[in-house]
Amino acid sequence: MSELNVIKKERTSVINPLVTCQPLGAMYAVMGIYRGMPLVHGSQGCSTFVRYGFSRHYREPADIAVTSLHEDAAVFGGRKNLISGLGNLAQRFKPDVMGVVTTCSSEIIGDDVGGFIKTAKQEIIKKMGEEAASKIKIVQINTPSFVEHQYKGYDNAIKAIVDTLAEPKDEENGKLNIVPGIVNPGDIREVKHMLSLMGVEGILLTDTSDPFDSPLRPSVAEKTPYYQKGGTTVAEIQDCANSLGTISLANYASSAPASLEKKYNMPSKVSEAPIGIKNTDSFIRTVKKFTGNDVTEEILDERGIVIDAMADVASRYLFGRTVAIYGDPSITVGMARFITELGMIPKVVCTGAKNDYFIDDLKKVAKESDEDIDALSGQDLRALDVYLKENPVDLLIGHSDGRLMAKDLGIPLYRVGYPVYDRVGYQRRPIIGYNGALNLVDGITNTIIDKYYEPQDWKLQQ
């Protein structure tokens, strides 16, 4: 009998964290809006370190504003900073959406963020006039840093964005809402690609693909204010109230679909990331169910190409090899399932986030694959390190923060997730969908060949 063995956290402290705090997820979500600008209500470090992290991973500029709370704000509250911050941001950047992202300090001070936003709106009207001011939407996103993690912050943000902006009309728009989760530009582009192959128009809530992978065109960058290309427009987000349904590709991002379902009687489906064959099949089926559109020949061909690639290599190089996976709670589960499809064994799956979906979803993977899987939920990289010292595996799948651990353990690391800062191109190459699966098959197999097969012997590599 296969079973999931959940290993409990043994420490009070966190050593080498696998998660960060809520505001990061919220900033990420707001950056997926066309001319969307996060305004972090907190200390300068709260925006600066996230900007630094985004820049390192995506190799793109990341403009995020901050209200620069200092000691006087801690005593007297952040009213002045937030109101003048919104005013300054509106005047200088003329954004379509300002997403006010709270932090631990502004949450503890107990700032009446909603009230301040109302006052700020009046100020902006005074300064810019009714017409210009009405074009700027303000979304309040509560993200206390001492509760849960960035995935919760992302969830909160998408819900706040949808709740603030969605505008129901009498007619359906025939579109499908997609909440992609914290993924890479390549993943979002792959989702759009799959939808287009099925003739479905999607509303991405939100679309970070272009903002985080933008063309280098100095003549465009020189424009003031300069925004990275793309993102979901306000009009699209408003229209999300009239869609056929909402699919969330991350099990932690369920609030917005639930809210839309409740308010507008719209079906929704939340799942782990569509990584691998079964998960992608399931995504395609959901799209078909929601839209009524058929699965096209092109999609079947793309699926077939992955299956062909798997047949080429799975038994030769991958079968029976053991794997440890760490990172995002949704992506790791998707990855675990795909690993079993390749005939590999996901010995241990570790996430820093603590949520029930993770355990439930992994249980299913264990059952379907008839493998025993160890689960580390709400844990850190040190816990995984300690585990791997006693239970070594053939391959690690996770982000760059595990690179030193991988080196010490002598286990090859295939990089997936956020952040990846020591290899290039990972943010562009999808891991989602059939094309994502194809990338994974190639990447994982090459990593295995590099480590376990003699590079000189071409015969072995046939």
Binding site: N16, P17, C46, E60, V66, S105
Partner: protein, 480 residues
Amino acid sequence: MVLNLDTENRKTQNGNNCDDFDIEVKIPKSIFEKLKSIEALKARESQMCISGKDDSIPTCDKNSTPGIITQRSCVYGGARVVLMPITDAVHLVHGPVGCAACTWDIRGSKSTGDKLYKNGFTTDLQESDIVFGGEKKLYESILEVHKLYSPGAIFVYSTCVVGLIGDDIKAVCKQAEEATGCRVIPVQSEGFKSFNKSAGHKLACDAMLDYLIGTEEPEEEHPYSINIIGEFNVAGDLWGIIPLYEKMGVKVHTAITGDSTVKKVASAHRSKLNIVQCQKSSNYLAAQMQKKYGIPNLKVNFFGIDETTKSLRAVAEFFGDEEMIKKTEELIKSEVKNLRDEISEYKKDLAGSTVAIYSGAHKSWALVSAFGELDMEIIMSGTQNGKPEDYQKIREHVNEGTLIVDDASSMELVQLLKEYKPDILISGAKEKYLSLKSGVPHCDFNHDRITAFSGFQGFINFARVVHTAVMTPVWKLSRK
């Protein structure tokens, strides 16, 4: 030279409102006309000036304007970067997980020995800790990490939230020190304590002064022992400096804090001389060590041939040992011999190119000489955390007509790059991609650079990196 601090202006500017337009214009008319068209820059005229026109420096060292995209960091970040390179210490961040998660391996400081400093430790404060206080959790965490790693010391950093809930980290550290027998050092670095992260540098220095330096005796007393202060061994910079001094007969006891150990820093008070590299973060430490232990200090600079040469000679002259002075001159002669030939190829391509610097305050003037040696000209220099004395330094180093700018936001940087069209921008990772998107080549001179730039060999590396950035053919394609 008399500082023109322009106190009147600073008063009017100290508010948080960006609408204070009634500021005296200090930028020359021609430049101002250009900049005036840029809405975003209007309110910040007083934070820019042109060198050489008068004694003016930019208005600086004031609160950031809320709602702009500041390039600044927080006090915790400032403290963290100064202490992090102590290799055998645990750096335990008392706060929500993000403060540690976003910074635990942020600095490319290299180590010859211990790798403990590269791990991220946090108490991961949760909602219940905010309500009931996090002291117990902190205490348990300290005991735990001590048991797991037996570190040389445990630095405990307080973050914004700790300042707000009022945990007494000093008391907890004391109690934990008694229980573990390990040094447990509080760093009172609440992020919002100041708009200037230099306050964090100072707090870090205070933590070392109060709890570390002077608490151990060095293993050997050397007549010519020195500490290199404010050198953090990013990309291995330190390893381009130590061998030079050792060849002169000078013993480098430790750097503070690059590639250092708790023991070495603790016994740094017996060294005969402190040489100060990053003067922004560490002048204070040197001054305090002089006061407390009578250790004199010299300001040094290892970027560029001339500055490195000067810095070696200064130490030899300080000790006044004839043999050492002789050795030093021989060393310089042999090291520099082929150096100028080696850079001449780069120089051919780079001569006449223009440079913008936007980085830490120390670098904003310390790099000027090195660029001069490549026949490159600084046309803009600035920093996000500058104090009047920093801008005075820039003024002393750059040519007439250079734009000096304080605390430029990302939007302003793009505008300045557009107006000034430098051939390269020197800065850190946040500005890097803005620069590239604007079509301006970029050289990373911050925490995560991967090439050592210090000393003689470092200068060759530097010339190569700058040359590569400017000459890479991608810039011929980018405007098509």
